[in-house]
Point group: C2
Chain length 120, copies 2
DNA sequence: GTCTCAATTGAACAAATGATCATGTATCGA
DNA sequence: TCGATACATGATCATTTGTTCAATTGAGAC
């Protein structure tokens, strides 16, 4: 018996080896996959999606973001901290306020493309 | 008196009213937001991401998908059921096997755009 | 019929997630 | 200095999520 195994699950016998080998090449490296799932996961939450939308090409303070997306200031602050860690937003402090703004060129494009998908 | 608040926390006093009103227009309707978060959430998992990649432009049986993405057949079957419910994949039964294939034009584009983001 | 294989399904579980509340910090005005 | 504000942070909690295991279905082989 030939072993048709390929990288993936060790010892797997592939039923359509040719197609499987071809498909194997379509899988990105694990670093890329991790980065991909990270942005998509970030966009996979309605609240963060709204935060991205209101902060696109416009800076807003935490209070206003909270009012717009319908979440407490604390909640917004938590989410912004995550987005800040991902370098998706930049911020500027002015007095007791902090103004945030989207700082990523691709987020808007991704959302735009997503909208096209939703609209079938 | 009519309520002009579209999304958001009712009764919020906005600090930058002009900017906030402008930002409010950037928020999509709740149906669109829901649809958006649904695809992004679906792409926000490395396993499903890999499944999408191997099933793009190529049909594979569950066994081979499992071998490629490194998950049990059961696990793959569960995920495919979700993706089937979202009408992202189509399937074809042949004997005791089921061949799945990506059936959505935008998924590949979204991933491609995502890769561009990851590559900075 | 029986046996095996591919896939599906349901239950169970740990881990991750998003929100809330309470508290802490820093800034401004009175 | 006192209080109010804008925001940040830590802890907690209820859901949700992804995986695994066990059991089941259905189709071909014998």
């Amino acid at each position: 018996m030939r072993d048709h195994s390929l990288p993936g699950t060790p010892g797997t016998v592939f039923i359509r080896r040719r197609a499987a080998e071809d498909a194997r090449k379509a899988i990105h490296g694990s670093a890329t996959l991790q980065g991909l799932s990270e942005i998509f996961k970030m966009l996979g939450d309605e609240t963060r999606l709204k935060i991205c939308l209101v902060l696109a090409r416009r800076e807003l303070c935490v209070n206003d973001v909270a009012g717009l997306v319908g979440l407490s200031e604390s909640g917004v602050s938590h989410q912004l901290r995550i987005m800040k860690a991902m370098r998706l937003v930049k911020y500027r402090k002015e007095g007791k306020m902090t103004f945030y703004m989207l700082d990523d060129d691709h987020i808007e494009d991704l959302i735009r493309l997503g909208v096209r998908h939703v609209s079938e």
